[in-house]
């Protein structure tokens, strides 16, 4: 299974990588339990920074699409196919869109929404 990314595309590299791996899972190109390349190998092959690949892997692990088993490496999660359908990014976008629409309805300006969003994000618990 080969993945392709475009470093000039407007889509962030980690998102391209996540999308490609999810698509591979959905199209049965990789099966649950299959080993995946290490962060370093994928970063070297794609000529990317290790941190970019690590971020993609971290988010895929959060979504239970992949799982890391210590020194043995990274594997496709047993429930990866089902978990691939859950797109947290799309859910967040929809949720934020709804909230922003509601705030606008109440008369809150875009500038006030941005400031409030920034304040909330900056004060988030670490």
């Amino acid at each position: 299974m080969e993945i392709n990314i475009d470093i000039d595309a407007p889509v962030p590299l980690f998102a391209q990588l996540m999308g490609q791996i999810k698509r591979a899972v959905q199209h049965d190109q990789v099966s649950p339990g299959d080993p995946l390349p290490s962060i370093r190998q994928l970063a070297s092959d794609l000529d990317l920074n290790n941190k970019t690949v690590a971020k993609a892997y971290r988010l895929l692990e959060r979504d239970s699409v992949i799982q890391t088993r210590g020194y043995r490496g990274t594997f496709v999660h047993p429930d990866a196919k089902a978990n691939c359908t859950i797109d947290l990014s799309a859910w967040v976008t929809t949720k934020l869109g709804e909230t922003i629409a509601e705030l606008r309805e109440k008369g809150v300006t875009d500038s006030e929404i941005r400031i409030a969003f920034g304040t909330v994000m900056n004060n988030r618990p670490q």
Partner: protein, 286 residues
């Protein structure tokens, strides 16, 4: 005298094999590749204008011609001055490194090409299959290299007890260990290192790594055996045979290393114009 004549014949063979036969083969392959895979059909294979490749091929041929003529001059000088022994030994080594220059410059030009390919094309490909060192090292060959190395260490310990004044002792072990560590580093880099050719198909990369690993293991065995052979010849007072051995060893290295230039099985479809390249980001699921 007979050893001298044998050395001249072997040295002539070294000159012809490394500076005439293999360069001709490589130039022939480059020409054939250009004919069977023209820039119009395989644009990704040629990131520079066509004249550049013709010029670099010609330069490679000229460099080899210069080295070839120099080799004939050296051989003539050795013949005239009836030289063999230490001089011939050193000349065979020095000349071999000179013979390597055109091949190294060719390899460097390949690296520059790959760098340009990466710059020109923003698309990157990778396989989702993990690579492990154990997948590429054949157990038999790896074991043979290890046994050869250990046998060499015991050999040095054995020779050490005779107190030969010329014998470098444990420095031989240090030298061979360092050489094997260098081979090991190249081996690790080839398996886990950066992908140089951005268009190379994964199967081709795996085949290339497999080939390189085998070549390195063969060279490791050959180099270790050669050092042991040199010591043995010196111990038996057969130093006159050392230049013959060193020249034959270099020819063996050339024969083994030349396998790395074989591209008959490579997948050239990856160098064709990709219809998706015009629309970046296409085909990415989100």
């Amino acid at each position: 005298m007979s050893e001298q004549l044998v050395f001249y014949a072997v040295f002539l063979s070294q000159i012809l094999l490394i500076s005439f036969y293999y360069p001709r083969q490589i130039v022939g392959r480059m020409k054939r590749l250009r004919e069977t895979h023209p820039p119009s059909a395989y644009p990704k294979l040629y990131p520079r204008p066509a004249e550049y490749y013709t010029r670099s091929r010609r330069n490679y041929g000229r460099w080899n011609l210069v080295v070839l003529l120099l080799g004939f001059s050296i051989l003539a000088a050795l013949w005239l001055f009836s030289e063999s022994g230490v001089w011939a030994y050193n000349i065979a080594i020095g000349y071999f490194f000179l013979q390597l220059i055109p091949a190294l410059s060719l390899d460097l030009s390949f690296l520059r090409e790959f760098k340009l390919m990466r710059k020109v094309d923003s698309r990157r490909k990778a396989s989702l299959s993990p690579r492990r060192l154990s997948d590429f090292v054949p157990p038999l060959l790896g074991g043979a290299a290890l046994i050869t190395y250990l046998a060499f260490v015991f050999f040095v310990f054995y020779v050490q007890q005779f107190d030969f004044p010329w014998f470098g002792g444990y420095w031989n072990v240090v030298g061979v260990t360092f050489m094997n560590l260098c081979f090991g580093a190249i081996l690790l880099w080839s398996v886990y290192g950066r992908k140089l050719n951005p268009h190379q198909a994964y199967e081709d990369r795996v085949a290339q790594i497999t080939k390189l690993v085998r070549i390195l293991l063969f060279i490791s065995i050959a180099a270790t055996v050669f050092v042991a052979l040199t010591v043995t010849l010196a111990a038996w007072e057969l130093r006159n045979l050392q230049p013959i051995a060193v020249s034959l060893y270099f020819q063996l290295l050339a024969v083994i290393s030349f396998q790395a230039y074989r591209i008959d099985q490579a997948n050239f479809e990856v160098y064709k114009e990709d219809p998706l390249s015009a629309s970046p980001g296409k085909g990415i699921a989100g």
